[in-house]
């Protein structure tokens, strides 16, 4: 009896082992992912959890054309030079099929330029800079998240409805802040030609001295304020502003501030009635989002943040691409990527525009409020990215010829 058990056990083990080997026999499809995991963990950690969830789901369902998807992720420490070095390693040593990732715009731009030089497909997931698909756009680079100008356009449309004419802006003094303010000005003056901008404040990024900034804005007596600061700078700006009554009776329009990454740390001090782009995670009740939300909660024990959606959608885009493409060389992948549709995602369907390689993934636009001691978004709607794009002629003018 004992012997029989042993033999049966051995056979069972052998079968399991063989099955495992058979699964391994199918080579994984490798994708290289680069992000600032140690420099900006507050944003990249939820992002990583998002793409890990998607990879698990895909592989549990049998992978892509029978091959498992493998994401090789590396930390760029927030340095563009390191990111390029890692990209080189992934392409020449790991033989990845394509590259993805990056959060900071400068790193996104550096890797995009590398992709162009080395003729490798790069899906920029998080960086917002317009230049990635416009001025510095290239054949091999696509971008997922709605760009600065798209989000500014969404906000400008809502801002125009308030009727405010005298605006002040507060933005971090680097490329992203400058681009956001320029885009907002341009979009707003399209809708409200007599809008004027009476004050501009440019605190250094992550080093705001909020008291003087708030005072300077207050002194200009604007009717409305456009804010681009985020993270710790935003928290200080809100706190000082609340304390000194800066926001009383003024319209405030604020980029990204509705994202849980930025709103949650503010707790009950979160501003009320600001017009923002963001992500009302708990309130979105489409079936796709509910399934994503529950799976995420189950895997990680916490609610997803916007980064999680971006991470998840990145891998979903890669899945759609690899399923559709018949060959995995860079040229085929680029051609497949043009006009590629991602039929289902937590944020709804979206596609990659052929004319500028920008996805039509949108953003949620709404107002901030405080409920149960937490900042939340109310009166929100999903602004589809397809509705906030420049015309094809404008795109053609901005993008360098291939």
């Amino acid at each position: 009896m004992k012997l029989f058990r042993f033999v049966a056990g051995a056979i069972a083990a052998a079968v399991v082992g063989l099955a495992a080997m058979a699964a391994q026999a199918a080579d994984p499809i490798k994708v290289g992912e680069i992000n600032s995991y140690t420099r900006l963990p507050a944003f990249t950690d939820p992002y990583k959890k998002g793409w890990q969830l998607a990879v698990d789901e895909i592989n549990a369902a049998g992978g892509i054309k029978g091959r498992p998807l493998q994401i090789i992720d590396r930390d760029d420490a927030g340095k563009p030079g390191d990111a390029v070095k890692i990209a080189e390693e992934m392409v020449s040593k790991e033989n990845v099929t394509m590259l993805a990732g990056t959060f900071l715009s400068n790193i996104g731009l550096a890797v995009a330029d590398f992709a162009k030089q080395n003729k490798t497909l790069f899906l920029a997931s998080e960086p917002l800079a317009d230049a990635i698909v416009w001025e510095s756009g290239n054949r091999y680079t696509f971008r997922l998240r709605p760009s600065t100008t798209m989000q500014a356009a969404m906000l400008a449309k809502e801002a125009a409805k308030t009727g405010a004419k005298k605006w002040a802006t507060v933005a971090p003094n680097y490329a992203y802040g400058k681009e956001a303010v320029a885009a907002f000005k341009k979009e707003l003056t399209k809708l409200v030609p007599d809008a004027e901008f009476v004050e501009e404040q440019w605190p250094p990024v992550f080093k705001i001295d909020a008291g003087p900034v708030v005072r300077a804005v207050e002194a200009a007596k604007p009717e409305a304020i456009f804010n681009v600061t985020f993270g710790g700078d935003l928290a200080q700006f809100v706190r000082e502003g609340n304390l000194r009554g800066l926001f009383e009776g003024r319209t405030v329009v604020s980029l990204l501030s509705g994202e849980p990454e930025y709103l949650e740390p503010l707790k009950d001090e979160a501003p009320k009635g600001w017009i923002v782009t963001g992500y009302p995670a708990k309130d979105i009740d489409t079936p796709e989002h509910k399934a994503f939300f529950d799976a995420y909660m189950k895997k990680w024990g916490e609610a997803p943040k916007l980064g999680s959606i971006v991470g998840y959608n990145t891998v979903k885009s890669i899945e759609a691409l690899l399923n559709k493409a018949d060959k995995y060389d860079a040229e085929t992948l680029v051609e497949t990527m043009k006009g590629l549709e991602v039929p289902s995602s937590p944020s709804g369907p979206f596609m990659y525009r052929a004319q500028d390689h920008q996805s039509t993934m949108g953003a949620w636009v709404g107002k901030t409020d405080v409920k149960d001691g937490m900042g939340v978004m109310v009166d929100w709607f999903y602004a589809d990215g397809a509705d906030y794009q420049p015309s094809d002629e404008e795109v053609a003018k901005m993008r360098p010829a291939e």
Binding site: G81, S105, L109, A110, Y174, F206, P212, L243
Partner: protein, 619 residues
């Protein structure tokens, strides 16, 4: 008018916060002569601890202040422990070792805080009872700001009493003036140092804890405060507490009014003020000239040309490098190119540091200027790669010519700080002058000419330029010029008295080091295709220092060995989570266990084994 007064008060509140951090830094430097990079980490720890403690006693006034004090005390204890376990072992090491070792602590604390407290930004509660505003001349002023305004002078007064009216204070002041003398009078020096470190860290922790109601607490707090605290301490005069107070006022108000006048240049402003003060008063507003330490570094053994054995090894290495493309894959070539670039960068730092005894903490400035010089030529003048590779070093040399003129007037820690200020000026200019440098977005698309586009061709180009640069530097070390520099390093007075214009020689050395760092920068920009302000930032300067220290300051092959080991190591460990802590641990380990570096260690073994004579350098 009332507006300006309110702005003035806001400036005062910032100044007080800054003073709390800076005075601890100054105190520690005054007594132990350690420039403590980890001071910002203590500040960050204080904030995180206070935030955590306050959660347990919401809304209570006693609870809030109890948490602030408790957090500061814990940080003080942590500081004391680090002093006993680590820093005590390196008091006699050269300044730069200490600076780099404390940077290792910064890396370790960063990952420890991430691991313990998590990645999210934290926004603490406002101070209970002080969460409103007061109207002064009709302008709203936060109550908490007024408290901070009062707290700065209060802490200054308390420190004055402690230093001038207690026996402990007398000992501390004596140690600030002459620590060997204090020791020979029978004072227990290690106990004194530990208590000073405790107090200094306590003040940093207090400064951090007091920021809980004002700012959001995040993982970037440490490096952003330390740069400002350095500025304050250096302007005030290192070791002078009243000086730190005056300097904090200056910087606080500069920020408050700078926002109104020049909102675009706020970062550059503070460093420019620092540079101006150092040029007019080289030891800061209230600082005194450093009293010559009695144990001023051992005189190094003279350098000798390589022995036949080492010439053979060097030739074998060169042969290996020449055939490398036939042996290795593409990525190995990329990595090898990186190592060549950084070997030249490290060698150029070694040229002024090891050979000339000039401590540069901002060598990345010239590397970055080399990058930008090359990039400008390509971007704005349509130049070719060949021309850009000449323009880069020229641009870097020009920068070194200007900054060097100021820097060679100082020595030791003051020189390190002025070179740091110079690098920060380059960094903040590159960061804020967007029209020219692209700011944060950098300059892109700077790729090699067609003939050098393949990885192999570019590798040979790097080998020719960087390898050639290293050999040239080595040749200069054995020239009369090199001898004069070593004379200046070991005994400036004697060198001057035999008729050598030491300052001119040092200035020339500074420029040469800048040019060679610029060559490395020029090659670097074409290997990456882009350039960003980060290349001039503090971590890049630290990289170079670590490479030199890793290889060994007192050996000529040190920088090459160091660059190779460092890049390979970094490439390996950056795949792991918490790799910064590991790197920090390695840095600290090197300083404590193997201060002579790898090449130095091999040399020691070689001498023991009888392969080499004492005082000879590895090839």
């Amino acid at each position: 008018m009332s507006f300006y007064f309110a702005q003035f008060l806001t400036g005062l509140a910032s100044a007080s916060s800054l003073f709390l951090v800076a005075c601890g830094l100054s105190l520690i430097f005054g007594v132990t002569r350690i420039v403590n990079f980890a001071h910002g980490s203590f500040y960050m720890l204080g904030a995180y601890l206070a935030y955590t403690l306050v959660q347990y006693v919401p809304g209570s006034i006693v609870g809030f202040w109890g948490s602030v004090i408790a957090a500061a005390l814990v940080v003080g204890l942590i500081g004391a422990i680090i002093e006993v376990v680590m820093l005590r072992r390196i008091y006699n090491a050269p300044e730069l070792y200490q600076l780099v070792a404390t940077f290792g602590i910064v890396l370790i604390v960063q990952d420890a805080v991430l691991w313990i407290f998590g990645a999210e930004d934290k926004l603490g509660p406002r101070a209970p009872g002080l969460d409103g505003i007061v109207r002064i001349f009709g302008e709203p002023i936060p109550q908490y700001d007024l408290l901070l305004v009062a707290l700065g002078p209060a802490v200054l007064g308390a420190l004055w009493l402690l230093l001038n009216r207690t026996r402990w204070g007398v000992l501390v002041r004596a140690a600030t003036l002459d620590r060997e003398m204090v020791a020979s009078l029978g004072v227990n020096q290690s106990w004194l140092f530990t208590t000073v470190f405790f107090l200094g860290s306590f003040l940093a922790g207090l400064g951090g804890a007091l920021q809980v109601p004002r700012v959001s607490i995040n993982l970037l707090m440490d490096l952003s405060i330390i740069a400002e605290a350095f500025v304050v301490v250096v302007i005030g005069g290192m070791g002078s507490i009243p000086g730190a107070f005056v300097a904090a006022l200056l910087i606080g108000e500069l920020n408050a009014f700078g926002v109104l006048v020049l909102p675009q240049a706020t970062i550059v402003l503070a460093f420019v003020v620092m540079a101006v003060v150092l040029v007019i008063r080289p030891y800061g507003l209230f600082g005194k000239q450093e009293t010559a330490a009695h144990a001023a570094g051992q005189v190094e053994a003279p350098i000798r040309p390589a022995s036949p054995l080492k010439r053979t090894i060097a030739l074998a290495l060169l042969a290996l490098l020449l055939v490398l493309p036939f042996l290795m894959g593409e990525f190995a070539l990329v990595l090898a190119t990186d190592i060549l670039i950084f070997a030249l960068f490290a060698a150029s730092l070694h040229f002024i540091m090891g050979n000339s005894g000039m401590v540069s903490f901002g060598h990345a400035a010239y590397f970055a200027l080399g990058c930008y010089g090359a990039a400008f030529l390509v971007k704005y003048f349509g130049g070719s790669m060949e021309m850009a590779l000449v323009a880069g070093p020229l641009f870097a040399g020009l920068g070194a010519l200007v900054f060097g003129w100021f820097c060679v007037r100082l020595s030791g820690v003051y020189m390190a700080m002025l070179t740091l200020a110079a690098a920060q000026i380059v960094w903040s200019t590159a960061f804020q002058w967007q029209e020219l440098t692209g700011g944060d977005d950098g300059l892109l698309g700077i790729w090699p000419s067609d003939w050098a586009r393949s990885k192999t061709a570019f590798y040979y180009l790097s080998l020719a330029l960087c390898g050639g640069g290293i050999l040239l530097l080595r040749r200069m070390i054995f020239s009369p010029f090199g001898y004069a520099l070593r004379g200046g390093r070991d005994n400036p007075n004697r060198t001057e008295s035999i008729g050598i214009d030491l300052r001119a020689q040092q200035w020339a050395a500074f420029v040469i080091a800048g040019v060679f760092a610029g060559i490395a920068g020029g090659v670097y920009v074409f290997s990456k295709g882009s350039i960003f302000p980060d290349e001039a930032a503090i971590p890049r300067s630290v990289d170079a220092l670590v490479m030199v220290l890793l290889g060994g300051v007192q050996t000529l092959s040190g920088p090459i060995v160091g660059a190779g080991v460092f890049r390979l190591l970094e490439d390996e460990i950056s795949r792991l989570d918490y790799w910064r802590a590991i790197l920090g641990g390695i840095i600290v380990g090197i300083v404590i266990i193997a201060p002579e570096g790898i090449a130095g260690f091999i040399k020691r073994i070689a001498v023991k084994a009888g392969l080499e004579r004492e005082g000879e350098t590895a090839a």
